[in-house]
Assembly symmetry: C2
Amino acid sequence: MATKRSHANNPKPRGRRAGDSDTSEAILNAARSEFAQRGYAKATVRAIAHRAGVDPALIRHFYGSKEELFAISVRYPPDVVSRLASVIDGDPDRLGERFTDAYLSLWEDPATGQPLAALIRSAMTSAPAAQHLRTVTQPDVLHQILTALGTDRAPESVALAGAHLFGIALARYLLKVEPLASLNRDQLIQTCAPVIKAYLEI
Amino acid sequence: MATKRSHANNPKPRGRRAGDSDTSEAILNAARSEFAQRGYAKATVRAIAHRAGVDPALIRHFYGSKEELFAISVRYPPDVVSRLASVIDGDPDRLGERFTDAYLSLWEDPATGQPLAALIRSAMTSAPAAQHLRTVTQPDVLHQILTALGTDRAPESVALAGAHLFGIALARYLLKVEPLASLNRDQLIQTCAPVIKAYLEI
C-alpha cells in the first residue's frame, strides 16, 4: 500500500548493496503494518520478517534492533510536514479549510497514514515510542508549522489546532466512533475550518 | 488511588459474601491500573491478580473472563457523564469554560482518569476494546450530553467538541507532549472555551 520512497533519509544504512533497496523497503513497509496494527510493544521482529518474507537476521542486518527499526519506520516521510506547511500560503480566509483538508489527507493516504497510526498506537502503550513522539516528532512538527505561519504566532494556540485535528483523526480513522467516522468529509471540514483558522492566527 | 464505590452497578456478581467487597474492589483497581498501563491485549489476569495480591482463580470467580473484567473496569463510574451533563445548565456565556473544566477534571481525577486511560489505550490496540468503545461507551456519552443540551443540537457538532477535548486530553495527560502538557490550566481553558461553547450551541 505504501508508495516506494528513497532511503536517502534513513540513518546508518548497514552494508547496503545495489539491489538491496527492494528488500529493505519491503521490510520497512512490513514494519509499518506490524507497528500500526499491534503497537510497538506487541510487534516482533519475527512477525515483521514473516510479513516481509525475509529472515529475521536480514532485518537486524539492515536496521539493527526493534527500537531502531521503529524509529525509522515512524519517521515521517520527508513530505508530510511540508505538505501541511505548504498549504499555509494562500487566501487567508480559506486557511482553515486548506489546513484541515491537508491534515485529513495525511491520515487517508496509506503512505503517511500508516506511519502515523503506527506512531500513535505505539506511543499509547510503549514508553520508548512515547518518548520518541515527545522529543523528536512533535517538537519538529510544531517548529516547522510555526516557521511557516510566522514567528509571531502563539505555540500553544497552534498546538490546540493540532490537538483538535488529532482528536478528530483518532475518532474518525483509528477508533472509528460515530458520528465522526462516517461524517461527510466536506461537512466535517466546513464545520471545523473556522476553529482551525482562528487557532492558527492567534 | 481510586475512591471506593459501591458494586451496585456491576453486573452478574458471582457468589459474593459480606466482606468480599474490599477484595473485589482491590481487583477492580488492579485491573484498571493494568489495562491503563499495558492496554487490553497485553494485560493478563495473572498480572492483575499479582497487583491485587490475590489468586487468579478469585478474579475468575468474581468477574469471569478478562473480557468481562475489562468491560466492568472501563465502565464509567456512574457520575462521569452526569458530571459533564450537570455543568450544561448555568450562564450560557460561560458554558465553554464549565464544560472544558469538567472534562479536564475527569482526566485529572484518578477515580475517573484511570478508567478513561485504560479504555483509550486498550481501544487503540485491541479489537474487543475498540468495539466496546464504539458500541457502548461513545453512543451512551453522546446521547446523555445531547439530552442535557437539548434535542435541537447537531450531534456532529457536539461530537467535534468531544473530539477537540479528547485530542487535548491525550496530548496533555497520556502522551504528555509540549506545549500542551505543561500549559497553564486556566490559560488552556480560556483559549479553547469559546470553541467548545460554539460547537455545543450549533
